[in-house]
């Protein structure tokens, strides 16, 4: 399912004194099976954008096409997208409500009208995907640790087997190990099942590590789109857009102030930087 967004505008509480334009004229194309990160400062319109992709908001202007489903200002029924686009909101564990882990994960598949057998199968599979041991299925989700609750919530969305998965700051509040594990599990699902992923993140390192495209938003419009390396080579502009320069990129820039020839500018992860430095050092050392 390709996602095509054209001239998307959204105004909250239009026609009242509290009117606020969240998006104005956003254009974006996400190819089926892609992994795109949407980055930008708080209030840049990221959340509003992804809610349109999931069919949770109707545009004020422009349109969003997800597969064959088209959403325009006068669309009334958006239910065609239910189950095909999954959304993991920020702090998704705050939406858990069932008595047991298994029942909570089953909520989505059940709403899709699947048979009991199929629901059970999907619950088991989803728990496996997020790394929840099967013996937790009968436990109350509210007795679990924060990290486990997060996984239950993510499993609840994955169990619907969406073709597009939208994640809004999925790692907020997790410790570094928890962050890495969650995102690498999602990444392998993306690779193995061809699931399209839209990741909203403040964390540029995360965006760079997993996404093949980055879409930068600033004050309700898209200001840049490209590969992670292309985005980070923008240097000072990143700060104008309210983005943090990733630490690795910052360190590389500092080193390049005095290195001739400089290290490649598109180093994004610690591993890449480490490899480049070692390479450079070994090359120069007389054997």
């Amino acid at each position: 399912m390709d996602i095509v967004i054209q001239g998307l505008t959204h105004i909250y509480m239009a026609g009242t004194p509290y009117e606020r334009t969240a998006l104005s004229g956003v254009n974006l194309k996400i190819p089926s099976g892609g992994y795109i990160a949407v980055v930008g400062a708080t209030g840049s319109g990221k959340s509003t954008l992804i809610q349109h992709i999931a069919g949770l908001l109707t545009p004020t202007g422009g349109q969003v096409r997800v597969g064959e489903v088209e959403i325009s200002p006068d669309s009334r029924d958006l239910s065609a997208l239910r189950g095909r686009v999954g959304v993991v909101f920020q702090y998704p564990e705050h939406q858990l409500f069932e008595e047991t882990v298994a029942k909570d994960i089953a909520y989505g598949p059940r709403n899709l009208g699947l048979s009991d057998k199929e629901v059970a199968r999907r619950v088991e599979q989803a728990m496996n995907w997020v790394g929840l041991p099967p013996e937790l299925s009968g436990r109350s989700p509210f007795q679990l640790s924060g990290g486990q609750m997060r996984r239950v919530a993510v499993a609840g969305v994955l169990a619907m087997q969406p073709e597009v998965l939208v994640l809004d700051e999925p790692t907020a509040g997790l410790d570094p190990a928890g962050r890495r594990e969650l995102l690498s599990r999602i990444h392998s699902l993306h690779r193995e099942r061809g699931m399209t992923v839209v990741l909203v993140s403040h964390n540029m390192e995360e965006a760079a590590r997993y996404a093949d495209q980055i879409f930068v938003m600033h004050q309700g419009t898209g200001v840049f789109e490209g590969t992670p390396a292309a985005v980070f080579s923008r240097g000072n502009q990143l700060e104008e857009w309210g983005l943090e320069v990733p630490e690795v990129a910052g360190l590389t820039n500092r080193l390049n102030e005095k290195l001739d020839p400089p290290l490649p500018a598109e180093l994004l992860t610690l591993e890449e930087l480490e490899r480049e430095i070692i390479l450079r050092w070994k090359r120069g050392r007389p054997r």
């Binding site: 909250y12 949770l56 998704p92 939406q95 409500f97």
Partner: protein, 265 residues
């Protein structure tokens, strides 16, 4: 996004009514609601209507905004009027059409009751339109404070109200978010009978309750950490100023009462 109900009420401004002390406004409206019932003829209702129109004028709030607030009550007024037209007898028949017979007294009653209703609602609306919820809370706390001696927890009530005011927008936003999250998981809040629809809201209400409890716990801890130990020995940043206009407003109320007593039958 769901419209915030609290934002919808108060209209910030600097009119004479806005500037009145909330205590004066509360006292005025409270007493007014009692003396309204003194009116029973054209002259007395005329006086009440006059004062109400004056108040509307002094509020500086656009008339359409006030009328918009009245819309939901209009049906209630209409219904009462129709019941009176139909059921109250005496004073001779003025209209007869099949089974519907309208008596003179019925028509009069319907008119007066509707007017009384309208005047009451208008005054109440003006109070909330020109007084911020927090000022209302302050006013109420001060007015109730003499009653603490007989066990009315004035400070606690006011604190509860102001915390509620503080958290209503937060919880509103949270509700919106949970509804969206569950909708994305295929929840259907629109179809089915009443029971089914009520049940479909459980996945929204349960998380909302849980998060409210968590917030309450956090807040209690934060308040304790900031040295909260109840109302005793506290000073206040908010102050109320009783001015000449406030005294005048109560004098007007007294004059109104005398006038009504004089004009009524």
């Amino acid at each position: 996004m769901i419209q915030n109900p609290i934002l919808g009420q108060y209209v910030p401004g600097d009119s004479p009514l806005h500037r009145l002390d909330p205590r004066a406004k509360l006292l005025f409206v409270f007493c007014f609601m009692v003396v309204v019932f003194l009116a029973n003829n054209g002259a007395s209702y005329g006086l009440l209507a006059g004062v109400t129109v004056l108040a509307v004028g002094l509020s500086g709030v656009p008339v359409w905004m006030i009328l918009r607030g009245l819309k939901p009550i209009l049906y209630l007024i209409l219904l009462t009027a129709i019941l009176h037209l139909w059921l109250t007898r005496g004073g001779g028949v003025i209209l007869e059409w099949g089974p519907f017979i309208i008596h003179r007294n019925g028509a009069l009653q319907a008119g007066w009751i509707s007017l009384r209703f309208l005047i009451l609602i208008l005054m109440g609306t003006l109070l909330t339109l020109t007084t911020s919820p927090i000022a209302l809370t302050d006013g109420l706390e001060r007015l109730l404070s003499p009653l603490t001696r007989i066990g009315v927890p004035a400070h606690e009530l006011a604190l509860m109200m102001s915390i509620a005011l503080r958290f209503i927008p937060t919880l509103w936003e949270e509700t919106d978010k949970i509804i969206k999250a569950q909708r994305a998981r295929g929840a259907d809040f629109e179809s089915g009978g009443l029971y089914k629809r009520a049940k479909s809201y459980l996945p929204v209400l349960i998380p909302l309750f849980i998060s409210s409890f968590r917030r309450a716990e956090d807040l209690a801890l934060a308040m304790e950490a900031r040295g909260y130990r109840g109302g005793r020995g506290r000073t206040r940043i908010r102050e109320l100023h009783w001015g000449r206009a406030d005294t005048v407003s109560l004098l007007i109320l007294a004059l109104l009462t005398v006038g009504l007593l004089w004009l009524r039958n």
